[in-house]
Amino acid sequence: MVMDREIIPFAQFHINSKKQYTKKIGWLCTYVPEEIIIASGFSPARIIGKDKVKKAEGYCPINFCPYIKSALEDILNSSSNLEGIVFTNSCDGMRRLYDLCNTYIADLPSFLLDVPRNKNEIAVKHFENNILKMIDFLESLSSKTIELTDLENSIKLCNEKRALLKRLNNYFKNLQSQIGIKNYFQILKFAMTEEPENFIEDLKKYLNYLDNEIDNKQKSSNISNNPEANNRESRIMIIGNFLDEDRLWDVFDELSCKISADDICNSSRYFENVTEPHAVAGLLNGYHSEFSTKNSYADLNTCEKKDKIFLKLIRDIAVRQLYKPQCMRMSDLNFKLVEIKRNIKNNNIGGVIFISQKFCDNTLLFYPLFRQQLNMVNIPSLLLEIEHNNISTGQIKTRVQAFLEII
């Protein structure tokens, strides 16, 4: 059944973001703290692998992550648009991508941020040291020292963006037929690729418009208050890695299902949690970190006051990054299962669609455990392996339709 949807597109508000002023630093993984890039005077731009793989095929083996290959293609084609790239050691593929860029695009400055896989005190400290190295790298590119105020302002900016995206996500969950699935993921793409200040302005206008528009529509047609209409839709959760596929989201837009929760690299794992909660107090509820206690900064007491505040902010960033909804690369899979099960319960999910890029070991090796655990609570799941920029929508639509019939 195709839903009768009246989508309010973001495109008409997407004006500021088309203007690009600042020099860009590319990034690929959500464990890269955008705050640091912004504080150093650059604009963070996620490399999304928009180009079809041609040249990159010659550098990578055939059974290699298709997103990594597309990202390499993007870098090979447009490295001149970037001042540098920050990679992470998120997975085997990403480490090799860093090696390939370092070897074959040596003119483009690149840095690899070592992100721990464990979440504990020593891991946070190790991560802090690595973030300080990232600062050195960016300062050498910009010939500018990051001052305390730069960092404070960039944290504020990132937190504001995260909070606005969270607001958008709430709309998406509750009024999906007005937001649209493809439209939502396009907004997220802009959030990750465009200048933060401009994007924030556009998103604010869009959200304000939504506030008024939806309020009016609800009054006139009572859309969201019709429980029968809501029940007709199958509430699903999408789990996966980096899924930037307009054609894939078109499939979901066309089907009678509602994505009530997600856990993917270009959605909640990007914007959930803020750095240093008091900076944007009240924007996000319920965020508490075990590291946000006075004792957690005790080792910084010997530093000069200004240094201490600076290092405290770095620690806040490190904690936010490590304790945000975790990627399957992280060590504690039980924590991931708990996060997912909580999402399933809170959002009354009827089934989970697990979408992975082909050859992604971290994600694909989580699926056997995940499926087994979901079976134990009688939640059906569907595994879709896709190839970035090269998906077969017909096949996917048939499989998703069949799955929706089951749930």
């Binding site: 059974n63 290699f64 480490r95 090799r96 896989r117 464990n118 690369r329 060590s331 090796l365």
Partner: protein
């Protein structure tokens, strides 16, 4: 087929027909008994192979017996930690290779597929997971995994921990990307925490005297391994059936034990005799071409090494036998083991591996490099282009040989032979 080979074949068939942990334990107890083990060892024409088989069976038998706690470990961990804690290491990835030799990979892979391990994943890990699901591997009390080189092990080990209900006894060693003083401290701290935690769970104190002794034995093993590697720089003839790619288990899993010292001392003695013979011109070596082998080999029956031998090619060296770490310091055991781990050429940038390869090519007078491109190994295969281009700069031909170490159905023997023949023609044309 000799009587001994018939017995071995018979044992293999019996295991294939009785795929159960208890049956494997029974077989290991029989062939692992001292008299039978010695008799079994005597069937090998080479001393190196004899000791390799004896120490392997002895240690695998230990992991199946319930006398000491067994711990699963991923390949590149410093196993000195295990031996100092008196926990018996069991290396699922390596033993998955043995399942190839036993001819049971079809069964383990099928089991893994039925549990949703997709076919694009590494067969070492799929076989190991299948074997765990089939209850073929010993029951672990601890699972320790390092993030070095490979993403897959940490996931499969965690799933195994969940199966046995011992998630609290799963430890992930987060190996930093770079080698520097801060990363050494971070890694050493993790080793210390894991050792303390395991000791507490075993209701013991951390035994520093034992750790010191393990470090001493590890250094002794390193000394003999270096001596073996040194004489291989000149050696051009090897004992029948000797294959350096078979030594991955003792090289890692037995570091810090007397067994490793005895094994490498014996390899040295055997190879030294051959080198002396070679030097006395009793063996002609002028037509022999020397290869460096990267990654591992197929563990099922294959023609690769027979073909190479027939064409006067030897594996002059294998990257897995490269002694990459400095001598350990018993005064600073955890820092020392951290440095060992961080020194592994597969850790960090691909340039570390390239540097090691360049050194080997020079020291071992290598004529060509074969990189076995095992299906599903993103880490190794992802560096293929960089390695090939680096070797091209010094005019060393490289063959990236696509295949699968364990799944013979995913490896075309005809294609492998054709590509090897073509590669040998290129090298031959240079002589």
């Amino acid at each position: 087929m000799s009587i001994i080979e018939k017995i071995k074949e018979n044992l293999k068939v019996r295991i294939q027909n009785n795929l159960q942990r208890d049956y494997i334990r029974k077989i290991l107890n029989i062939i692992g008994s001292k008299p039978l083990l010695l008799a079994y060892g005597a069937t090998f024409s080479s001393q190196s192979d004899k000791y390799l088989n004896i120490v392997s069976i002895k240690n695998i038998k230990k992991s199946y017996n319930k006398k000491s706690p067994t711990a699963y470990g991923s390949l590149f961990l410093p196993y000195e930690l295990f031996h100092s804690l008196e926990i018996v290491p069991f290396l699922p990835e390596v033993i998955a290779g043995f399942t190839g030799g036993l001819g049971i990979t079809d069964r383990t892979l099928k089991e893994a597929s039925s549990k949703w391990y997709t076919p694009d994943l590494c067969t070492f890990h799929r076989c190991a997971s299948g074997a765990v699901e089939l209850d073929l591997f010993p029951i672990p009390q601890f699972l320790i995994c390092a993030t070095l080189a490979c993403d897959a092990a940490q996931k499969t080990f965690y799933i195994d921990a969940k199966k046995y209900g011992i998630e609290d006894n799963f430890y992930l060693v987060d190996v930093p990307y770079e080698k520097n003083s801060k990363s050494i401290s971070y890694l050493a701290e993790q080793f210390k925490m894991i050792s303390k935690d395991i000791s507490t769970k075993l209701q013991k104190n951390l035994d520093f005297a034992r750790l010191e002794n393990t470090i001493k034995l590890s250094n002794e093993f390193r000394y003999w391994a270096l001596k073996v590697n040194d004489l291989r720089k000149e050696l051009s003839v090897y004992p029948k059936n000797f294959n350096g790619l078979n030594f991955i288990f003792p090289f890692h899993g037995l570091a810090g034990t007397k067994d490793a010292v005895i094994l490498y001392k014996n390899i040295y003695r055997e190879l030294k005799k051959l080198l002396d013979k070679q030097k006395n011109k009793k063996i002609k070596t002028d037509r022999i071409k020397r290869l460096l082998w990267l990654h591992l080999k197929p563990y099922y029956k294959n023609e690769i090494f027979t073909l190479l031998e027939k064409n006067n090619y030897i594996l002059a060296f294998e990257e897995i036998n490269y002694v990459y770490w400095p001598e350990l310091d018993s005064e600073n055991p955890f820092e020392s083991l951290a440095l060992k781990t961080l020194s592994h050429p597969l850790n960090g940038s691909a340039q570390n591996r390239v540097d090691m390869i360049m050194e080997i090519v020079k020291d071992y007078r290598i004529d060509g490099v074969v990189m076995f491109s095992h299906w599903g190994c993103r880490h190794s295969n992802g560096s293929g282009r960089i390695i090939k281009d680096s070797l091209k700069k010094i005019d060393i031909p490289t063959l990236i040989l696509d295949g699968d170490c364990l799944n013979k159905n995913n490896s075309s023997s005809g294609q492998i032979t054709t590509r090897l023949q073509g590669f040998m023609e290129i090298i031959n044309s240079r002589f």
